[in-house]
């Protein structure tokens, strides 16, 4: 057998660290008073978004074939399915039954949990809601988190490399998906696939070659089990995972079913950007003049800040403020968005997360301030901002929560002790992982409640990264189950 690819067995340190999947933060940075601060924040991919399925799916074809479709939706069959009684026999005070199309249209505006409750209304409603055709149109929500293991025995015969647990945040007993991605991992050549990134519920895997150091990719929709192979960008396995490569998947269901990959190769003086489009199916390569100049590094914790057709990345600044930039599918910076900040002095600011919730970009950071109170100590707070108006770059402070509230009266919490994992796509909920006891917690901005979601350690193994899961049920023509 040929020599083992480094991807198959990364150095122990890298294996056990969540950083190896999502890049790392090479230096400290600072804000406020000008001192450099060392930090090595374990990076966990985290975030999510959940697009409402395109509400107009059922309208798309209507323009062209309006008459036929409208009439067919009125067929007696669909009328019977939904109505408890025949329209013509409607008694005074009784209300109409509705044809299937409008009812799905109405349900598409109702929150996910309500829709699930409405399965109890009648068998017809249960079937309507469960119908895969309608599922595409009905809202989906954060169903849980995929926890990727990074343990030693992963990759052995009995344990596939891709060891994943699913933590259901809805409290259901039935798993909504196969967390081991057997449909992918069991295919020849896919034994060592690993998750690199996700965007709008579509996942990007790296697929290390078994015979040399090259790496190709797989883009896949776990909800429909559709996938497509993407050729190598030319980056070898060791460099792909070494923290100097940042790979992003860009997919926007509101635009079309195509996807893009943007990969940054960070070198000291010669950074480059490599882009792939599912339309052209080729990689293009060019120099990247902004990476490595002024801003040293892309932060790993901006996994799904995909808003307004742009990828949003936090750039760690050296000796200055962090920056938020919007990057297009060609890898060019389109906009420099000044991150929000309170007008305060003597505060350290640390970027935690950028992601999308309720259609808007959110930015989470924490502040350290030396509190000269009764007991001198650092006061640490998590600040959650929302970009209320994208065009005018108007940030609004949505909530502030003290570390003591989040983590208890542990004053020694460092930024390396926790990670913001995700912000709920539909609610004012932030998910965090506490590294010291491996607990996934949620913080509700409305009720100010902190809740334990799960004990990760009870799953028996460490985690490599934590991915929020929202199913996306539409078929995508760009994913055609092709090698």
């Amino acid at each position: 057998m040929a020599h083992k690819s480094i991807l198959q067995k990364p150095p122990l340190e890298a294996q056990t660290s969540p950083q190896f999947l999502a890049g790392f933060r090479p230096h400290g940075f600072l804000l406020g008073d000008g001192q450099l601060r060392q930090s090595s924040i374990p990076a966990i991919s985290g975030c999510s978004y959940v697009p409402l399925p395109p509400r107009y799916c059922n309208f798309l074809s209507r323009g062209a074939q309006s008459l036929t479709i409208s009439i067919s939706s009125r067929s007696p069959a669909s009328q019977v399915v939904l109505g408890g009684m025949d329209c013509s026999k409607r008694s005074a005070g009784a209300v109409a039954s509705l044809p299937e199309d409008p009812l799905v249209e109405i349900l598409s505006r109702v929150p996910f949990k309500s829709i699930c409750r409405f399965k109890c209304v009648s068998k017809a409603w249960r079937d309507l809601i469960a119908d895969p055709l309608h599922r595409k149109k009905l809202p989906q929500t954060l169903e849980g988190f995929l926890l990727y293991e990074d343990s030693e025995d992963c990759g052995s015969k009995d344990r596939p490399r891709l060891c994943v647990h699913f933590v259901d945040v809805l409290g259901r007993s039935v798993r909504p998906l196969d967390p081991c991605f057997s449909f992918l991992a069991e295919l020849p050549g896919n034994e060592n696939i690993m998750l690199l990134h996700y965007c709008n519920d579509i996942f990007l895997f790296a697929r290390p070659c078994n015979s040399d150091t090259s790496v190709s990719y797989i883009v896949c929709n776990p909800a429909t089990e559709q996938w497509v192979a993407v050729p190598s960008s030319g980056r070898t396995g060791s460099l792909l995972l070494a923290g100097c490569t940042f790979t992003y998947l860009i997919f926007d269901p509101a635009t079309d079913s195509s996807f893009h990959l943007v990969q940054f190769w960070m070198e000291r003086n010669d950074s480059s950007v490599h882009t792939y489009s599912s339309k052209t199916r080729v990689w293009s390569h060019k120099k990247c003049d902004w990476l490595g100049h002024g801003y040293y590094c892309i932060a790993p914790n901006s996994p799904d800040g995909y808003v307004k057709g742009m990828l949003h990345l936090i750039l760690y600044g050296l000796g200055g403020k962090d920056q938020l930039v919007s990057v297009d599918v060609e890898g060019n910076i389109q906009k420099n968005i000044p991150p929000p900040a309170r007008a305060r002095t003597g505060c350290w600011l640390f970027s935690d997360y950028v992601g999308k919730s309720q259609g808007r970009l959110h930015y989470i950071y924490h502040e350290h301030k030396f509190d000269t109170g009764i007991k001198e100590r650092w006061r640490k707070e998590l600040l959650i901002w929302v970009l209320q108006d994208y065009d005018t770059q108007q940030w609004v402070l949505k909530d502030t929560v003290r570390f003591s509230k989040l983590f208890g009266e542990n004053e020694h919490i460092k930024e390396s002790d926790y990670n913001v994992v995700a912000i709920h796509p539909d609610h004012n909920l932030v998910y965090l992982i506490k590294h010291w006891n491996q607990k996934l917690i949620s913080y509700d901005m409305d009720s100010k409640q902190v809740r334990d979601v799960t004990d990760v350690c009870t799953l028996g193994h460490g985690y490599g990264c934590i991915i929020p899961y929202v199913p996306y049920f539409s078929d995508l023509s760009s994913l055609e189950n092709k090698q």
Binding site: R62, M85, P99, P102, I106, S114, R117, S122, K123
Partner: protein
Amino acid sequence: MEVDKGKGEAEETRKVAEADRDTVTLKSSDGKLFEVSKEAAARLSTVLAGMIAGGSIDDNGTDLKQIGSEALENVVDYCNKHANSIPSAALISSSISFNTAPFKEPEEWERKFVDRLSHDALFDLVEAANFLGMERLLDVTCHKISEMMKGKSPDQIREVFNIKNDYTKEELEEIRQELAWAFYDD
């Protein structure tokens, strides 16, 4: 808006007049005639736009056998009100690129328009809007009904939609248990 069309009208005269007319006549399932501006009909209804473009508009009143007179009256009323309201950017964008534009909240007049309707009339209007391919009206009416559904229990939904519970006691118990998580508050 109901119009009384004189039967004695000469065929020729009417045909000439029809070609230049800027309104179309629609006939409800119960035979009542309504007149609506051709421009508004074509702009707000993909089905009527197709019929106007395809020349399949009947001078005597285009038969809309699926739509009762009360619903059709509301459709025509909506078209007229829409024509009279200042078209906002929101409405323009939602009618032009409806496949990508996010749903725009109903405007004040649209809210009032659906609020005054009885449940029956509202449901009939949804059906009419669906049949005629009136995206915006469908948006506004569906939005209204979805608001009515919010926070309602399955029992209350059955009442609003007049649906018979066809689960047996055991079946209902089973599905309730399966969906227990959906009954907890967030």
